[in-house]
């Protein structure tokens, strides 16, 4: 399951990032690392970014990147 496939407002756990090294790095810095809890807050229209809550912090992520963030049900 990836971040774009989960329902809004429910909490999931980050498992992995299947993508480039630099982007993976950036995500980890903002708290999107394996084990952390994540919740989708809202989507920007017209294919814009998705806003998630990671451990109490709001982060906006482009959909391309979000589709590569694997999550699992807690």
């Amino acid at each position: 399951m990836n971040l774009l496939e989960v329902p809004k407002g429910k909490v999931f756990r980050v498992v992995n990032y299947r993508g480039g090294r630099a982007v993976g790095y950036k995500l980890r810095q903002l708290g999107l690392c394996p084990g952390h809890q994540v919740k989708v807050l809202r989507y920007a229209p017209l294919g814009g970014p998705v806003m998630v809550d990671v451990e109490g912090r709001s982060v906006a992520i482009g959909r391309g990147i979000a589709s590569r963030v694997e999550v699992e049900v807690i």
């Binding site: 980890r28 017209l46 294919g47 806003m51 982060v59 906006a60 482009g62």
Partner: protein, 637 residues
């Protein structure tokens, strides 16, 4: 003694710095405001120490230029003590970098900032346990309100003087074993890092450091390979992830031990995003907010401009009547002096002051990253991503910080395009030209139309540029800060800091430029400069006299308005220019060659070549845009 302030973006470092140093660093409620180092002398316990504000960074690995600068500084200079600023309301994130700082093994103090914010969301931090676990003093504080700053600096001074070193973080046994092995191999390597930190950086795969170490100890390469393979075999992850996992694990554990999560009060601020980021209302809100902003600037500016202009016009008449003969060079210079002064007081400042205060409020509230969120999809359509909107928005204040803020972009191509485009954003100086000329004489709707036309031209240029320099942009990753109510003090200080820049640097130039022009006019020399610019003024259907103000306008964009009045012989532009000429002139000024200060910054950030490319490109675009504006406005007038 030297004290360095370090912390993650938007943790309040610059706010803290400004509290002790007076307003010297740009602040704003979004990440990446500080991109250069700012230093200030501060008195602590009767001794003068220097305090250095570093750009915010999420870690010490350095994936973009701003982060790399921080590491370079921390390791190359002799810093006596590091103040690690942490946002108490997001402690576990901040602690991950604290762990990295501990590895550097330098004297350190932790400033636990934003205690009020933590309180609001129901977080309580056990300061004593945190201190004991890290072996580093922790001082709770609220930088925005000035609380806890004195004790913080006293503590930092003491720690720096005694040279107290922190406790080294302990990782899992297998990692520690490998670290110990590497440390022995690296014992004689010359580096700014201690052997343990060096070993960690090598395992992490830091490219620059690995290269320099392999030069000294070629055998290290195979050691690293062996360790990497055996740990990957045991844990199923690459070394890079293992080490980062260990660090964040340590930080998470520590955070769990010291944080007590109480009841979170849901307030209006938490609900605000539901409105401001709503798929429909959000955009209506964006337009409304920008329109309101525009109206307020126009209303206040016009309200001040009229009486001030009247005053200076009367002063001029009165002075000339006292002198009697107006053909003297002396009286020409006197008139020029008055016009230079009045250009600043009556035309520029009335719009600049409300504009800068408004921009400051929007920055501090935290609305700008939301604009990036809303605009990301649109920005992608023109080949950029939402983050590039930050330089754009800063550009409305001044292009110089806008160019500097392109450092938050990782990619060189994205940086060039964003820098080129942000020079086309009408800064506050050009705002004065648009408002003082077009809005004042032809109405605010036309000024707004010029701004919309400007956005359109930028979008088209972006599209063309991103075609010419194609690249896959990776997409947006941007933290959305918590909404904050800006304090009166920071907004006023910030606006004053920027206004002072105009008064000290631009205004004298305006006055001198105005006088130089009157001398040129008196001796009939301006004709040569006008001839030089004639090709452009001819194409645009403008009077030949605009050559001088346009050329001087490269020094400071305000000059292109103040000197225009002089060149044409009247500050009442309705008398000497047709509406079509006013619009065409304003549009050309909005786009053509960035001012001298901006060019200097572009050269510093991106090099000579790109500077000339941008200068040439903008002149071309300005001429085309001017022609279009001339054509369209000719239909209506």
């Amino acid at each position: 003694m030297q004290i360095a302030l370090i912390g993650q973006p938007n943790c309040g470092k610059s706010t803290l710095f400004n509290q002790v140093a007076g307003y010297k660093a740009e602040t704003g409620n979004f990440s990446g405001t500080t991109v250069t180092f700012t230093e200030s002398k501060v008195r602590v316990l009767g001794n003068v120490v220097s305090v250095v504000d570093l750009p915010g960074t999420y870690s010490l690995a350095g994936t973009n230029p701003a982060e790399r600068e921080v590491i370079k500084y921390l390791t190359s200079n002799t810093v006596d003590v590091v103040i690690n600023v942490l946002d108490a309301s997001h402690l576990s994130h901040g602690l991950a970098m604290t762990v990295e700082l501990l590895e550097l093994n330098v004297p350190m103090v932790i400033a636990l900032n934003m205690m009020d914010e933590a309180d609001r969301i129901g977080i309580r931090v056990d300061v004593e346990t945190l201190e004991k676990s890290l072996g580093v003093p922790v001082v709770p504080m609220i930088a925005s309100k000035g609380r806890g700053i004195q004790p913080l600096f006293v503590k930092a001074y003491q720690i720096g003087q005694q040279g107290v070193l922190p406790i080294q973080p302990k990782y899992s046994n297998d990692l520690e074993r490998n670290l110990a092995l590497l440390e022995v191999t690296l014992a004689n390597v010359e580096s700014y890092l201690n052997p343990r930190a060096l070993a960690l950086k090598l395992l992490e795969g830091d490219r620059d450091i690995t290269e320099s170490v392999i030069e000294q100890v070629p055998g290290v390469e195979s050691d690293l390979k062996t360790i990497g393979q055996s740990m990957k075999h045991d844990r199923g992850q690459s070394l890079e992830w293992i080490i980062n996992g260990e660090r964040s694990g340590l930080a998470d554990n520590l955070a769990k031990r010291v944080i007590q999560q109480g009841k979170r009060q849901i307030t209006f601020r938490d609900r605000l995003d539901d409105i401001l980021l709503h798929p429909v209302i959000g955009y209506v809100g964006l337009i409304l907010i920008l329109y309101l902003f525009f109206q307020v600037v126009y209303t206040i500016g016009g309200w001040l401009e009229v009486p001030l202009m009247d005053f200076f016009a009367q002063l001029e008449v009165w002075l000339l009547s006292r002198l009697g003969n107006s053909d003297h060079l002396f009286s020409e210079i006197l008139v020029a002096l008055i016009q230079g002064v009045s250009g600043g007081v009556a035309i520029v400042l009335p719009y600049l002051v409300p504009f800068l205060i408004g921009l400051g409020i929007m920055e501090d509230v935290g609305y700008l990253p939301r604009v990036a969120f809303l605009m990301d999809a649109l920005m992608h359509k023109i080949g950029l991503h939402g983050k590039s909107i930050v330089p754009f928005i800063l550009g409305f204040g001044c292009n110089v910080p806008a160019i500097m803020s392109t450092r938050i972009l990782e990619d060189k191509r994205e940086r060039f395009i964003s820098a080129a485009l942000s020079t086309m954003v009408p800064c506050a100086a050009r705002l004065a030209v648009v408002f003082g000329l077009v809005a004042f004489y032809l109405g605010p709707e036309l000024a707004l139309a010029i701004y919309i036309f400007n956005l359109f031209v930028i979008a088209v240029t972006a599209k063309i540029l991103s075609r010419l320099v194609p690249d896959e942009s990776p997409g947006l990753i941007l933290e959305m800060p918590v909404y904050r109510i800006p304090t009166f003090r920071t907004v006023v200080n910030k606006a004053w800091w920027r206004i002072r820049e105009f008064i000290v640097e631009a205004w004298p130039l305006l006055i001198v430029g105005s006088i130089v022009l009157s001398v040129l006019n008196y001796f009939n020399l301006s004709i040569y400069l006008n001839t030089l610019a004639r090709p452009i003024s001819w194409i645009l259907g403008l009077p030949g006299e605009v050559g001088v103000p346009l050329i001087f306008g490269i020094l400071r964009k305000e000059l292109s308005l103040v000197m225009l009045g002089q060149a044409l012989g009247s500050m009442n532009f309705a008398m000497v220019m047709t509406p079509v000429e006013m619009i065409t002139y304003a549009v050309f000024v909005v786009f053509y060659v960035p001012c001298l200060a901006t060019m200097v910054v572009i050269r510093k950030e991106l090099g000579w070549k790109m500077m000339w490319q941008i200068a040439g490109m903008t002149t071309l675009i300005a001429t085309l845009a001017g022609l279009i504006a001339r054509g369209i406005s000719a239909i209506f007038y």
